[in-house]
């Protein structure tokens, strides 16, 4: 199964090998081996508590930010093991950006400052701040809606706009991989559709990994889908195969809505 996906998609951007993760003494991931293809959208689906969020939080080392957590195994970005001692997680996160479940623009900042926040936090002065803002907001399909109100607070936008602002904030850092942890679960259907269109746009330049418990969404936006169950990777294949002819009975039961 693993080799199959490698054959389908020539270039692997990220790869986890026997990845295990704990919260305290509770092991939530039992050795995940999975390859994320470059410049495709990879969806991670599975019932609540299956470890899908934990898995993508291991891909940019956000899992360890929570106290009393542990990770074992390897995750490769290109050829580099990001869990090696010499890797600074802070630098890694500049390459592997993340969008969260709830839109979380910075409350003290304007729309413009939110987009520049990543750079400013790191103490980088962009060569042309306005161009950076315009580029990131355009890529996030938000520019036309906010170009005249860039100085308004980020929180004055609607939920869907806030989420696209958070995506723009991530894009401004020009990452290589974008991780999305249920980015639409707090949004209405129209805002969700906009974000889904945006994800389709993003894959021309970025590798996208999206966690979702909305199976239709996974079917709509992703090229490959991984099904997680109880901390194990059950099946990983092209999305249309997962949704039409899954090999595993558990996968079939889940995607046909018989449990979860």
């Amino acid at each position: 199964m693993e080799n199959e996906s490698k054959n389908i998609f020539q270039s692997v951007k990220m790869r986890s090998e026997n990845l295990k993760a704990w919260f305290g003494t509770h092991e939530v991931l039992h050795g995940i081996t999975l390859s994320v293809p470059e410049k495709y959208v990879t969806a991670i689906i599975g019932p609540s508590g299956c470890g899908k969020s934990t898995f993508i939080r291991c891909l940019n080392r956000m899992h360890e930010v929570v106290p009393a957590t542990k990770v074992l195994g390897s995750v490769y970005l290109d050829a580099i093991d990001i869990y090696k001692n010499s890797i600074n997680p802070v630098n890694l996160r500049k390459k592997v950006g993340m969008v969260f479940q709830k839109p979380n623009p910075f409350p003290t900042m304007s729309i413009r400052d939110n987009v520049l926040a990543g750079l400013r936090l790191q103490g980088i002065k962009p060569y042309d701040a306005h161009a950076t803002v315009e580029k990131a907001l355009t890529q996030a399909a938000l520019w036309d809606e906010v170009k005249d109100i860039l100085n308004r607070p980020g929180l004055s936008l609607s939920g869907g706009q806030q989420q696209r602002l958070c995506i723009a904030r991530t894009l401004a850092l020009e990452p290589e991989v974008i991780l999305m942890d249920e980015p639409c679960s707090a949004l209405d259907p129209i805002a969700t559709a906009k974000i889904e269109d945006l994800i389709q746009e993003l894959k021309s330049k970025y590798t996208v990994v999206i966690v979702t418990h909305n199976m239709q969404q996974a079917a709509r936006v992703s090229d490959v889908t991984a099904f997680f169950y109880l901390g194990e990777l059950i099946e990983f294949d092209r999305t249309e195969k997962i949704f039409t002819t899954p090999k595993n009975r558990k996968t079939e039961e889940y995607v046909t809505g018989r449990f979860g």
Binding site: M62, V90, G118, Q122, C166
Partner: protein, 286 residues
């Protein structure tokens, strides 16, 4: 049914009345207190009183050294207590790993906030006046008051850090920021307004403190203004205490006038805290 209705209404009204009285009583007491002080001290409340030096003749005695002493004391105390308190709060909230040691520190800080101020006075006398050879100086007074304030500053600062949602810390990390960068540029701008309000209120309380300053030996008769942090000094509450303990009734009038000045300044600081909170929080959109 109607009967039950009536009965509940009676209890409702009684409860409302009790709560109303609970706010009325302290308000009346404060008005009486201020009114009494103003009436007693009215004859001495003048520019001469504010700019004069102490004197053996009550009608010539002024409040200036006490006023200036308290002002310097407040500045120095803030300069010591605020950075230390904020730093400690940031460490405990943002960096410290939960565990036995952290809990021990937390419990001790809460307990320290309840220690009587005279104990801090004794500590200051030994630690600053004697062991550190600061003498009965402004610096020793400020260090002592800073010790007294520290637990309170730490607690209000922690409270204001705790209300910043964790999702914003994660957002900072996910954007490739170090923890200190996230704290400086995201967490602190959001929590400073809240912390500042609490800090100003604690500082305002500290300028009313008398016991620790008497313990470390602040002078009661000072005919000069402090010219350095090593200078001897007096402060408003001490000057008031001194005047009240004089046998001549004319000094009681001075004391009353001093009380009016002290209360006025306290109210001013409280108002400043409220104004600052309103103003700064307008910049934070929750």
């Amino acid at each position: 049914m109607r009967h039950r209705f009536l009965k509940e209404n009676t209890i409702e009204n009684a409860f409302k009345a009790i709560c109303f009285l609970s706010i009325l009583l302290p308000l009346v007491l404060i008005v009486v207190l201020i009114g009494d002080a103003v009436i007693d001290g009215w004859s001495r409340l003048s520019l001469d009183f504010l700019t004069g030096f102490p004197s053996r003749k009550p009608e010539l005695a002024g409040f200036l050294p006490a006023l200036v002493g308290s002002f310097y004391l407040m500045l120095l105390t803030s300069a010591i207590a605020i950075p230390l308190g904020l730093g400690a709060a940031i460490y405990l909230e943002e960096y410290a790993k939960p565990g036995f040691l952290t809990s021990l520190i937390e419990i001790n800080i809460s307990n320290l906030a309840g220690v009587p101020s005279i104990i801090y006075g004794l500590l200051g006398l030994e630690l600053f006046v004697r062991m550190s050879h600061m003498g009965r100086s402004l610096l020793a007074g400020a260090c002592t008051l800073a010790l007294l304030l520290l637990p309170m500053v730490i607690m209000v600062s922690r409270e204001s850090l705790r209300v910043v949602p964790n999702s914003l810390r994660e957002a900072g990390f996910a954007l490739g920021a170090d923890q200190w960068q996230t704290i400086w540029k995201i967490i602190l701008p959001m929590s400073i307004p809240g912390a500042l309000t609490g800090i100003i209120l604690s500082v305002a309380r500290a300028i009313g403190e008398t016991a620790p300053l008497i313990t470390i030996g602040a002078l009661t008769y000072v005919a000069f203004l402090p010219d350095s942090i090593h200078s001897a000094f007096t402060a408003m509450p001490i000057q008031i205490f001194n005047w009240i303990s004089r046998p001549q009734t004319a000094f009681q009038t001075n004391a009353a006038a001093g009380i009016v000045v002290l209360l006025f300044l306290m109210l001013f600081f409280n108002a400043l805290a409220i104004w600052l909170r309103a103003r700064l929080q307008r910049k934070v959109y929750w």
